[in-house]
Assembly symmetry: C2
Homo-oligomer: 387 residues x 2
Amino acid sequence: MRRVAIIGVGQTKFGEHWSEGFRDMVTEAGAKAIEDANIHGEEIQAGYVGTMASGRLVGQEHIGALLADYMGLNPIPITRVEGACASGALAFRQGFMAVASGMHDVVVVGGVEKMTDLDVSEVSDILGGAGDQEWELFLGATFPGLYAMMARRHMYEYGTTPEMLASVAVKNHKNGAKNKYAQYQNEITLEQVLKSKMIADPLKVFDCSPITDGAAAVVLAPLDVANKYSEQPIEIIASAQASDNIALHSRASLSELRATKVAAKQAFEQAKLTTKDIDLAEVHDCFTIAEIMAIEDLGFYKKGEGGKASLDGKTALDAEIAVNTSGGLKACGHPVGATGIKQICELTWQLRGKADGRQRKDAEIGLAHNVGGSGATAVVHILKQGW
Amino acid sequence: MRRVAIIGVGQTKFGEHWSEGFRDMVTEAGAKAIEDANIHGEEIQAGYVGTMASGRLVGQEHIGALLADYMGLNPIPITRVEGACASGALAFRQGFMAVASGMHDVVVVGGVEKMTDLDVSEVSDILGGAGDQEWELFLGATFPGLYAMMARRHMYEYGTTPEMLASVAVKNHKNGAKNKYAQYQNEITLEQVLKSKMIADPLKVFDCSPITDGAAAVVLAPLDVANKYSEQPIEIIASAQASDNIALHSRASLSELRATKVAAKQAFEQAKLTTKDIDLAEVHDCFTIAEIMAIEDLGFYKKGEGGKASLDGKTALDAEIAVNTSGGLKACGHPVGATGIKQICELTWQLRGKADGRQRKDAEIGLAHNVGGSGATAVVHILKQGW
């Protein structure tokens, strides 16, 4: 396989975009990434786009062709990829394979979701399609409910506390406050999180990522020609994906995501690295408990010690490992299909040393972790400076 | 890139499956393909699945993980790919790239759609999401309406007649009558088609493919090890995909599908073949006019001569080129995401010489042509005997 690099990235602001539609956002993000890559549109040979539920959210399927059309890229092939909340990372992975295989040279990969045009109960029902529709959603289980059960079990097994959960939100808002693309650019306190409204015990509203509109895009090229386009290409040194039972009741454990463990193991083997080599990680914190499980299942902390590590500040910007320097899903917001690509944008800015007020010092190697649904899909990418 | 072969295929009967759900069908097709490939489940390293609108049709997204779970394939990665009615071929193409790149060895690719659980008006609305939701569907244009405009223009420019359109349906039903997996296994006459109810002038009900449930699957492996599994591996010698404007009003011509022309040109270049080398083709006949445009845009007949060629019987099983030996979308039915994979199944059976009563004599090289929406995506694969 050929070595592959990121040569350009771009994203919209994440938030509630009342005056921009699905196609406007993806075009904005794509144009920014193409400009950042210093390429002409005609150099792009193929594209991928991740979006979870455009059919139900905006009545539009066939997103690949729509994107080719609206970005003026016809007749190149563009393909939509879907894996619930991991749609972005899955699209990125297909783009990586398209370049690695030699099928295409310059490939653009986007992620997008337009979620705020429907009311919250409808969106909650649609997001339920990321779990088991017949055995979970149909019986009333929403995503906050599913993650609440995981949180309860984690608390029972390991003594994880509400304060530990809340510390994730506080840290991510602190980082997000420095990110101009984040939906929430305000800091919050532990007390505010703990006093916020209960959604699904023990998860309070500030333990949950919000509903968000947004898009993000990246441009990929073979590493050996990447410096023709970019002074700071970022190499993709690992790409791994794994699956687990779609319904919680089928899993061996509720307090870990097995797909994350499998994908992480494969990614570290591909990269020939260990967790100690990682300077920063964007992990899938759809709920605060999800970040705690992620940093355990990825191997940064032993199972059961993620909560304490968070509360002790070990995942802060300047600590052992910087987790969710972007602000994560919690502060950036979570436009489902865009999140996995936004993680790649953030790591790219960090590894370039261009992350403004939230720069991780000496960031050389970063990891992105994107989860679909309640953990039935997990995708791990490892990136490093490629110049 | 490594050379890639098909080592197993399988499909459900296409039709109205009142007693089988989405996940039952895809599991049945997958199990058949795995059995046909003579492999054990644990040899499969990854999967892809094409489905257009599972979110709206059955409330379920995250189909990759669902399939991994229900087929007992966890924790391997399975990824959903969507490109409207071309979802199957796009999934097949990603599977091809995953093997060609060296990322994975044995890969399963499925296609599935469960369409008959909703009423026809809802399904028609959902299928409209394959076109331009904001500029076509929203204003009342359904797919029969869009293809009717293309048919009208083709008649105006080239003198194509209702009899020529009808001849496509008659030929495809004749082939489908010999296919035990087809939704309609009855022959029809030209007169029956011409006297059938008008849907969108000039397209009558027998000019239209039906709404259908079904699934199909294939197993891929590197060609150099394919004969370890199969006595008759089928090599994929070309894989090409192209895009066109999503809305009809943006296109330069209504009487051709530019994406088909671009993809066909690339596919023939990859395969180092011409149209004369092709023994049989499965083409995308969602409406009779679509098959006429397809055989022109693929290059088998000059623009404007496809209708006469059909009426003159040149696309029959034993004629110049056998088109839609399976019965096509018209007689097999069109479970959207499954159609592109079903085309590959049919070509595989034909190239193996195992197509029972509908066998094309001396079939050595076949072409599959799958279209998304009204032509905004086109995918062309060329297969040949690999033993």
